[in-house]
Every structure is written in structure tokens, then in C-alpha cells.
């Protein structure tokens, strides 16, 4: 009845090391995943799938990648958009150029190439720190934006330099309807989220965090900063690359480099910070916030206006949306610099103590 861990004695370290230590958590998560796979397809409509759920899931995935690098390893990156682009374009090339290429392999290969790019552009991190590094990663952002526009080879020489894919299928399963697309993306996201969680709570995750928190001390206890940073770049950009490929293949179907421009990088960083640095769960909260709130504002404002009998023009809505979003972001940062994930853990903490606080 109560949310308690009392009485759930952990007799082995193994059980103490589970992802969700409290039994109720475990049940809740499993129920949530089951609901996502079974309940949501029954309830949601086309708009929800296409305009909200699919982008939400893919951005969550990308944010997990960013969080590994920024939140866990402490290397601020503003180049995530570029790694999404690398994932998208390379997956596209693999998919189109190789006969009978299975979709999943193509998507993963996008991740692979993004990983290579990530490692290369991660090399400055061995010398450069903090905000200097952040700006240096913009080099990746602008370089790849340029590359995919300029070098026609990447877009199979299409005249306008766009890429498109159609008729996707996995082992005979046609990904036509929005439900199919949603389920496909969901599957990817769940698997990757679990793998990522395992990494960050394991030895490599501790190396990353150690580098983040105090790199000199980390090297004194035998952690090689180069290895830790580059693996973080690799794992992170792999995940981001896969997310990029999903975004292009599943969400858009047809895209251009602008899809992955610097605003995308900022957006991802927002997700991670609003959600909570160093929290996988936070990525989902952050993505939900960033995906839903502009849309919600955009639809809500005219409605609110009408309540008061004023017609708010589209441009006014557009500007107000910017202002409110900006203000909301600041507000969240002020209220909880550790992001929405902190609320999550605080809520659990309180629930655990409830009804006896302190």
C-alpha cells in the first residue's frame, strides 16, 4: 500500500545494484513500458503520434546521448546536432547504396559513423575544457552542416541536396502507419535507454563521472582521462547518431541539413539541463517539456485570448511563445538547477518518508 522500501531487505549486493531498487519502482516502470507498448497505440491519435510522441521519443534518445557526454562526463558539447546529421546522412548512404540493406543495420551504421565523427571531434577535449570546449564543438556543428550541403555525394547527387527514404520495413513489417513508426521508435528507445543506464551505473559510468567531477584526482586513481573522455564521446555520439537516423528516416522521411542545425544542438542541451544533468530518466522529462510546451503554448495562447475576447495574431503567438518558453526555462533553472529529474527523486524521497517528514 505504501511506497516503502522497509521490509524489502537486500540480502545480496546484486539485488542492491538493481536499476530500480525499490520494488514498487520496478513494477511501476514495467507497467509504464507495457502501457507505452500496448495502451498508447490504443488511445493516441495520429496527431499525437506524429507530432508529439515520435519526436518526443527520438529526442529523448538523442538527449540520453547528450547526457552521457555532458551530464555524466562533464564535457559540454554544442555539436550534438551535427552528430545527429552524421547519423542521418550516413545511415541514408548505407541504406541506399547497399542493396537489400536491412533498415536496422542501416540505422545502427549511422550511429557507428556518428561515433567515428564524435571521436574525432572529441579529441580537443583532451586539452580543452569547459566553455572553451563547448565552443570548439561548434566547429563540428558548422562543419557537418556545411559538408552535407556541399558534398553532393552524401545526398546521392540529388539536385536540391535533400535526402529522402520511403517504404521502410523491418523483417517484413511495413512501417507505414504512425502506430508502426511509434512502436518501432519506442522499441529502439527502450533498449537504448536500458543499455545506457547500465553503462552509466557501471564502471565506465563511474569513470565518466569521476572525470567530470575532478579530473586530476581521477587520473591519480588510475583513470585515463583520454580513454574516459573519448569513450564518452563515442558512446554519446553513437546514440545521438542513431537518434539522428531515426529522426530522418522515421520522423521526417525527407530532410536537409538544416534539420540538424545549431538550434537542434541547443534544443538537446536544453532537454538535458531541464531534465537533469546526469539522469537518464531526466532526458524523458526534458524532452517532454521541450517538445510539448511550445506546441501547447502555441495552441493555448489563441484559446486563452479568445476567452478574453481578443484575437491574438499568429505572430503575436509566435513571439509570446518565445517569451514564455524563455521565461519557463529560466524559472525551472531557478527552481531546480538539477532539473526535473530532481523533482522526481524528491517526490520519491518524500513518498518514502510519507506521512512522517524529516
Amino acid at each position: 500500500m505504501f511506497y516503502r522500501e522497509n521490509g524489502q531487505f537486500k540480502t545480496t549486493y546484486k539485488s542492491d545494484q538493481q536499476i530500480f531498487g525499490v520494488k514498487q519502482d520496478r513494477i511501476a516502470i514495467i507497467a509504464l513500458i507495457a502501457f507505452a507498448f500496448i495502451g498508447v497505440p490504443l488511445l493516441a491519435d495520429e496527431y499525437l503520434f506524429r507530432a508529439i510522441l515520435v519526436p518526443f521519443l527520438i529526442l529523448s534518445l538523442a538527449a540520453i546521448g547528450v547526457n552521457i557526454l555532458v551530464g555524466y562526463c562533464g564535457q559540454i558539447s554544442l555539436g550534438s546536432g551535427a552528430f545527429m546529421a552524421v547519423g542521418a546522412y550516413m545511415a541514408y548512404n548505407v541504406f541506399m547504396r547497399v542493396e537489400d540493406m536491412p533498415l536496422i543495420v542501416a540505422l545502427l551504421s549511422g550511429g557507428f559513423f556518428a561515433m567515428v565523427a564524435g571521436i574525432i571531434f572529441g579529441i580537443p577535449s583532451l586539452r580543452v575544457k569547459g566553455l572553451y570546449l563547448a565552443v570548439a564543438t561548434l566547429a563540428a556543428q558548422f562543419f557537418f552542416d556545411w559538408l552535407f550541403v556541399r558534398v553532393r555525394w552524401f545526398t546521392l547527387d540529388s539536385p536540391a541536396g535533400t535526402a529522402e527514404v520511403s517504404n521502410l520495413s523491418v523483417l517484413g513489417w511495413q512501417l507505414d502507419s504512425s502506430v508502426d513508426k511509434y512502436l518501432f521508435v519506442l522499441g529502439f528507445v527502450v533498449v537504448f535507454a536500458l543499455l545506457a543506464k547500465n553503462l552509466v551505473r557501471g564502471p565506465i559510468g563511474r569513470e565518466w563521472m569521476a572525470i567530470r567531477d575532478m579530473d586530476v584526482a581521477a587520473s591519480v586513481i588510475g583513470i585515463r582521462p583520454a580513454y574516459a573522455k573519448l569513450t564518452a564521446f563515442a558512446v554519446s555520439s553513437f546514440i545521438i547518431g542513431v537518434a539522428g537516423a531515426l529522426w530522418a528516416f522515421i520522423h521526417l522521411g525527407s530532410w536537409e541539413p538544416l534539420t540538424f542545425d545549431i538550434n537542434r544542438s541547443f534544443q538537446l542541451l536544453f532537454i538535458v539541463i531541464i531534465g537533469g544533468l546526469g539522469s537518464i530518466m531526466g532526458c524523458f522529462f526534458g524532452a517532454a517539456f521541450i517538445v510539448i510546451s511550445p506546441i501547447l503554448l502555441n495552441q493555448l495562447l489563441p484559446w486563452i485570448g479568445r476567452l478574453f475576447g481578443v484575437e491574438i495574431s499568429t505572430s503575436m503567438v509566435g513571439h509570446a511563445e518565445f517569451m514564455i518558453l524563455g521565461a519557463l526555462i529560466i524559472w525551472i533553472l531557478i527552481k531546480e538547477p538539477h532539473g526535473l529529474a530532481k523533482y522526481w527523486s524528491m517526490a520519491r524521497h518524500k513518498l518514502r518518508l510519507w506521512p512522517f517528514p524529516h
Binding site: 546484486k14 543499455l195 545506457a196 553503462l199 586530476v216 581521477a218 587520473s219 591519480v220 586513481i221
Partner: protein, 261 residues
């Protein structure tokens, strides 16, 4: 108490000099540390004590001199190598991983011993899981030993200073080092806590035979527990010997101890 057995020289520092621009942090320092002993380094503020430790574990690269560790001689050390050779240390200005829990901090101390690769870790499968559990057991021993069970999962940044110091020690212990370098482990503690800390240090020294190099300003601690003491002043060595000898050394008295002690 049984007289402990002090062994051969394990760490030999030869003619180390270290400069930062115009500042001579260390000039021509030599001393050695024997296996199983507690070796204290004392000296006034800015004497170069911390810098000495930094040279030993590769954070600073001295311009001159060499360091011999268990028979191998190095011009200067490399942090990773030193860690692999079995040297661990704690820091004067707490260098913990603030965002991580106590357990995770200690677990980083075991990272050198992790064998499973990234893929296994991601899947948390078989060997990786088993390995993790083994290391966790070791770490739990240390946690028990340092009596910080209650704080296992607290992010260390939120712990009070004194406990952070303990975690710092724990992280070093988790490496199961041959030699442990402690930089003012008892600063900011009251007597009771210092007593605890001394007990830990002595226990480590006794039970695991760990060699200890200790920097400390509290003379009573130094006098009570160390076997031999080096005294630095303005980067120079001005004394070396048993606590008693050092306490009687007039240079040391004027430079460091003052008259009231």
C-alpha cells in the same frame, strides 16, 4: 602491541627539484620510505609538502631528480602508472567526485581492476555483473571499516567536511595500495575524530601492511604514530629522523615547531 616489522626501502626519492616559474617549491630533496612504516612529512605552510606528494604520483613533473619505486627508477612519474604500481593518495583540498555517491566514489578506486569491456557493461551480463558484485563487496568492507554505512548513497558533496575526508581515505583504500600518501587527512577534525582517523591509519598499516606517507600539522599525531619524520622548509629538507630526533632538532624547532611545543 607487537613490534611491527619494518622492511626494505620501497620508495626512494632522489634529489628532487621542482620550480614554478620563479618559485622554487622543492630544492634537491631526497628521502626514502621503508616498507610498512609510517613516514611523516612536516613543515611550515608552503614548504613544499603537497608538492612532494604531487611529484610522487605524477601530478607534477619535477625538473630534476628521480624517484625509485620498488626497484624501478623514474625520471618522473605518470599518474596511471603510479596507480598501477600500487600508490594511492588523499588530497589536502578534498578532491572527491562531488556529484557521486559514497559508494560510487569508493568504487572508482577499483576501476583499475575492472576487466569486463564496454559491451558487457552495457548488457550487464554474466561476468560484468559478477565482477561488479565482487568489487562491491570489497568496497562495503571499507565502508564498514570507516563507519560510513549510513551515508552510502549520499552524494559526497553534501557530506560535512570531516566525513568527506573519510571518504577520500576510503577511495584510496579501495585501490588496495602498497603505499598510501595522505595529505593532511586530519585537518578540520576534532580530537575525537582525529582519534578515529588515527585508528584507521594504524589499522590499515597493521592489518594490510600498507606503507604510509603522512603529511600532518598536528604534532601530537605525528609524534604519536609516525616511525620516521622528514621536515621540509621553503623547499629544503631540514630534518629527517625518528620523531624524537626531529623534535630535538634546533632547525626544526625554529622553523616549525616554535617554542611552545
Amino acid at each position: 602491541m607487537s613490534k611491527k616489522k619494518i622492511g626494505e626501502v620501497i620508495l626512494d626519492v632522489n634529489n628532487i627539484s621542482l620550480r614554478f616559474g620563479g618559485v622554487k617549491a622543492l630544492s634537491d630533496i631526497s628521502f626514502n620510505v621503508r616498507e610498512h612504516e609510517i613516514r611523516a612529512i612536516i613543515g611550515p605552510n608552503g614548504a613544499g609538502k603537497s608538492s612532494m606528494l604531487n611529484c610522487i604520483n605524477g601530478v607534477y613533473k619535477p625538473q630534476e631528480g628521480s624517484i625509485t619505486f620498488r626497484g624501478q627508477t623514474f625520471k618522473h612519474m605518470n599518474s596511471r602508472q603510479v596507480a598501477e604500481l600500487g600508490v594511492a593518495r588523499t588530497f589536502q583540498n578534498l578532491a572527491l567526485f562531488k556529484g557521486m555517491s559514497v559508494i560510487d566514489n569508493l568504487m572508482t578506486g577499483r576501476n583499475l581492476r575492472i576487466k569486463s569491456n564496454l559491451l558487457l557493461q552495457a548488457l550487464r551480463w554474466g561476468p560484468a555483473e559478477r565482477e561488479e558484485t565482487e568489487h562491491r563487496e570489497k568496497v562495503e568492507h571499507i565502508i564498514d571499516f570507516l563507519e560510513i554505512q549510513a551515508h552510502r548513497k549520499t552524494p559526497v558533496g553534501q557530506l560535512p567536511y570531516g566525513l568527506q575526508k573519510r571518504v577520500d581515505l576510503g577511495r584510496a583504500l579501495a585501490m588496495e595500495p602498497k603505499v598510501l600518501l595522505l595529505d593532511e587527512p586530519m585537518a578540520g577534525m576534532n580530537v575525537e575524530e582525529k582519534q578515529d582517523m588515527c585508528r584507521f591509519v594504524l589499522d590499515v598499516n597493521d592489518e594490510f601492511g600498507t606503507t604510509i606517507v603522512l603529511i600532518e600539522h598536528d604534532m601530537s599525531v605525528v609524534m604519536d604514530i609516525s616511525d620516521r619524520v622528514v621536515v621540509l622548509d621553503y623547499g629544503k629538507k631540514i630534518g629527517d629522523g625518528s620523531p624524537g630526533e626531529v623534535r630535538a632538532n634546533p632547525d626544526v624547532i625554529s622553523a616549525y615547531l616554535g617554542t611552545s611545543h
